[in-house]
Amino acid sequence: MCDVAFLLLTFFILTTQFKKPDVESIKPPSSISEKLLPDASLMTINVTPAGTFYFQPVENGTERIQLLDNMAAKYKLPAFTNQEKVAFTKVQAVGVPIGQLKGFLNLPEDKQKAFKAKEGIPMDSTNKQLIDWVQQSLAVNPNYKLAIKGDVTTKYPKVKGLFEGLRDIDFLKFWLITSQEKSN
């Protein structure tokens, strides 16, 4: 019995993925949904209470580099150096406009973690960079899924703008991250 118990213990220790600390604390609204976030290749859009957008690319090194190349090509930026590409594969979330991405990737790692975006990724009617991130990710691998994590106090028009942008690129099915409602 003890052997089995310790086998299980080893199994759980090895399979547990600890939650990475979020850049900014976002408290998702509660819902009765009992569906858990699937393990699929997932990109996440975080919307902070102030309405700034962060984009979390899929955790897959090679595909992230492709995504970065695609974005650089799309915005006609000078190619990223190998060092910057490596930094991009490790990054938790992108919260800067594409023009400032180079500077962000050249920051030391601990500064990146503490980096709080002032403006986030631009997302309005004239500059839809956030949608481009999604679109270019899908160009790398069309099987990606999208989850949106918004805060309880995020203003609805911000979310609406995001939804409209996603409709524009015909990306219609995604998930909203919620927390389990307390039973009362």
């Binding site: 118990a5 989850a147 979310v159 409709r167 998930w175 909203l176 991250i177 919620t178």
Partner: protein, 179 residues
């Protein structure tokens, strides 16, 4: 509990004999700790995953494609207007019938909006096609939107749409919240 049990066979005789030591170690504390850790890891693995809610948006109509006929009978639908400060209003009127009295305020409680939707559904002439039209104003917050989608799941309404608030509804809404 954690001591190593040593059997003392008493000091008899003058000769010092090497004591026969019991080599069995009590494993209970270790196993206790093991199970504690197992419980911990089991709980953390299942709970660290957030819940999700499906959302499917309607495709944008193509340019050369006529939008489908979306006319819904008034008593077959209910419009929910999500306002500021977690306020929610509902009505089953058209432009002519909507005024201060017919735009009714309710709340997000089980006794509030759930009852309203159920009542409206019971009074619908074609229950299969009963539709909820959700109209968040710009004052609404994301939580309200999720709450309403949640409400659709609670009342098992498959047919609902999210759309912008109409100017004539907004005028009454603004009047109601005192702007």
């Amino acid at each position: 509990m954690a001591e190593v049990q040593v059997k003392d066979d008493g000091g008899k005789g003058g000769k010092v004999r090497s004591k026969k030591q019991n080599t069995r170690v009590d494993m209970t504390p270790m196993v206790d700790l093991g199970f504690l850790l197992i419980t911990f890891f089991m709980f953390t693995t299942t709970f660290s995953k957030p819940n999700v809610m499906d959302l499917g948006l309607p495709a944008k109509p193509k340019e050369n494609q006529k939008p489908p006929d979306t006319e819904i009978k008034l008593n077959n639908s209910i419009s929910l207007i999500i306002g500021k400060d977690n306020k929610i209003f509902y009505h089953q009127q058209d432009q002519a019938g909507l005024n201060d009295q017919t735009l009714i305020e309710t709340n997000f409680d089980r006794e509030g909006i759930t009852k309203v939707i159920e009542r409206a559904k019971a009074g619908a002439s074609d229950k299969e096609k009963f539709t909820v039209i959700i109209k968040p104003t710009d004052d609404a917050v994301y939580k309200n939107f999720v709450d309403i989608l949640d409400e659709m799941a609670i009342t098992k309404n498959e047919r609902y749409g999210v759309t912008d608030i109409k100017p004539w509804e907004e005028a009454i809404y603004k009047k109601k919240v005192g702007e």
